[in-house]
Amino acid sequence: MLKQMEGSRAVAEAVGLCRPEVICAYPISPQTHIVEGLSELVKEGRIDNCEFINVESEFAALSVAIGSSAAGARSYTATASQGLLYMAEAVYNASGLGLPIVMTIGNRALGAPINIWNDHSDAMSMRDSGWIQLFAESNQEAVDLHIQAFRLAEEISCPVMVNMDGFILTHAYERIDMPRQEQVDAFLPPFEPIQMLDPARPVSIGAMVGPEVYAEVRYLAHYKHLQALERIPVIAEEFQARFGRASGGLIRPYRTEGAELIVLALGSVNGAIKDVVDQMRADGHKVGSITVCSFRPFPLDALRQLLQGVRRIVVVEKNLSLGIGGILANNVRMSLRGLEQPVFTVIAGLGGRPITMHGLQECFTKALAGTLEELHFLDLDWEIIRRELHHARSERRSGPVAENMLKLRLQGRSDV
């Protein structure tokens, strides 16, 4: 059924269709509308037999979900940014315990400086947590990925994080094809945990594991991701068969046939990239793109197949691993190990900075010409940086850059 609706509300309804049994909610922008929507659905009785729990922190939110999931209830929560950092300990714990919790991240920058707008810093901070990390390109995909996420999580007993760009997706009104309950029911069987807290069959969960087998335990957790690499395309195919549209999967190539340049990215920016690809193709450039839907597990082999022989590779990414560069680019380089193609990184959209088609096209054009720096910062105001570095060198201060600039302005410094 087609509906015009806010991304967050659409996700709330999709999650509701998955018949969650326990939902833990704690507000943080830009995720808040999702749990608000869910609270209405539960209050209205539109989600049957579900506990909606308002908790006192993100740490508690995921902890409650850990408990409910371990007790055999399908469990869901959502967060973003600082909230994800605050629950970090529980994030690792949930995956370590193999609990198939699904959590939405309304992707947002990390402070300081505090910033509520979109980038992928939050998700990237948990890239090694053992959670499966899927990135939605659109609100429709966000809806679809949640349905697939529960299926995947419960099949392999591993938590899944569905990432959707804060504001860009969460707060955007779009037309959504909302699945029907019976469709979802047919696709997503009731949760049958592989183990649970049950007085009839008592076990001790969460033992302390020493050096003798810790590595084996970690390998087995890694193996779940290897399993997920196989299951994600299968589930996506089945989803397509049942719901009639392609959503999810490991990666989605766009016009990559014979491409000399392929652009890769996570999340909603792929929409803009595809438009640029279309323009450049129209201009005769052999350009294509790949939407990376599954960041963890990372589809090394699938990418390598598509990228071998491609002359130029550009990764557009909304994160910056300080001291090295783009995280996605480094992962892409890993898929190309032994090959000699350069991988250009374009850091873009940090803290919600708009990514323009013009800027992207400029980058791609330079990349084709071989003039793009290996690590390029899209639309960076180098003038500010030059000035600040100059001051920093002349007056050694501590404290955040933004603050210093403000301070200097207040002091009436004309050169700021």
Binding site: E21, V22, C24, N49, C50, E51, I53, N54, V55, E56, S57, F59, A60, S63, V64, A65, I66, G67, S68, S69, A70, A71, G72, A73, S75, E89, A90, N93, L97, L197, D198, P199, R201, P202, V203, S204, I205, G206, A207, M208, V209, G210, E212, V213
Partner: protein, 341 residues
């Protein structure tokens, strides 16, 4: 005369073994859970707690009583800490009940999740307990605990209070008593041991949440402890039980003195045994044979520096005695009434 169907026997408080774990002379129903041959031994042999561990003892007391009260329909969530580490090092667990350890500071929240799952699954008979040490409860887990209280989640939270971070090697917690030596409040300098701070009384904080049940208990008062667990399990909603469990290693007491030290904490007034429902104190256990606080302190090396004489130490001992006296006054602990322990 001791079979199950025998008439209830009036326990006279001055007969043989009035206060013992069991007593073959009274009706089976009047004996403690610990006296029964079919107690669940929720925490069984082979665990790696130190000799004379009060927490191991308190945990078995409490969980066995809860198992009895729930007809063995119990799930326990454990915070990180001694209890977790000494019971579940791979490849062995000492627990005989469904049990899970997640993190240090989230036991109350995880248990709230379990309780929610049981509600949604219609398994009303399955009850949830969360347990942790004083650090996991009063410090790092305090936020989750308060949240669980305020939501009135159907969880009994049990704090085994041994008054410091024992698992990491005896560091100060908010439960560490004034003047006590810990690894981070060494008995050195002009003010040895823990500072004379204002303290943190978690049972009273719990009461301030107006939750259905709050109680304190001790490994030295088994019948009282079991009665409180049983009462707690007869109620629904958030409940809190704070059990005093001496730690021979951390307190510098002899392993065989664990119960005696706990008993002296009660007798001195430093650890009042109270019960409260919906924020109101409903019962306190009167002290039998009151003693001065020094009787309690002198069995523990963590207070040894206080007992070396001198004016300053005398002043500090008087201050500690005042804490005990205030407890006694506040809860009317010295009165003519036979105690239930």
């Amino acid at each position: 005369m001791s079979d199950e169907n025998a008439p209830e026997q009036k326990v006279k408080f001055y007969q043989k073994g009035t206060y013992t774990v069991g007593n073959r002379l009274v009706n089976v129903r009047q004996r403690s859970v610990q006296a029964s041959m079919d107690r669940s031994n929720s925490l069984t042999c082979g665990h790696r707690a130190c000799q004379g561990c009060g927490e191991a003892l308190g945990a078995r007391y409490a969980i066995d009583a809860a198992m009895r009260a729930t007809n063995n329909q119990l799930i326990a969530i454990n915070a990180t800490g001694c209890l977790e580490v000494f019971t579940t090092p791979y490849p062995e667990t000492s627990w005989q009940i469904p049990w899970m350890h997640s993190l240090f500071g989230n036991a109350a929240a995880v248990a709230a999740g379990v309780a929610a799952a049981m509600r949604v699954k219609g398994l009303k008979q399955v009850r949830t307990i969360a347990q942790g040490g004083d650090g996991g409860t009063m410090d790092i887990g305090f936020g989750c605990l308060s949240g669980m209280f305020e939501r009135n989640d159907d969880v009994l939270y049990i704090c085994y209070d041994n008054e410091a971070y024992m698992n990491t090697g005896v560091q100060r917690s908010s439960a560490t008593p004034v003047a006590a030596r810990t690894a981070t409040t060494p008995a050195m300098g002009a003010n040895p041991g823990n500072s004379f701070n204002s303290g943190k009384n978690l049972p009273l904080i719990a009461m301030a949440h107006n939750i259905p049940y709050v109680a304190t208990a001790s490994v030295a008062a088994l019948h009282d402890l079991e009665a409180k667990v049983t009462r707690a399990m007869s109620l629904h909603g958030a409940r809190y039980l704070h059990i005093h469990v001496p730690c021979p290693l951390g307190w510098g007491s002899a392993p065989h003195d664990t119960i005696q030290v706990a008993r002296l904490a009660i007798k001195s007034g430093l650890f009042p045994l109270i019960e409260a429902e919906h924020g109101m104190v409903t019962a306190t256990v009167p002290i039998r044979q009151p003693v001065p606080v020094t009787d309690y302190l002198k069995l523990q090396k963590r207070f040894a520096h206080l007992l070396r004489g001198g004016e300053e130490n005398a002043r500090k001992l008087a201050a500690i005695q005042t804490i005990a006296d205030n407890n006694i006054k506040r809860f009317n602990l010295v009165r003519k009434e036979a105690p239930r322990v």
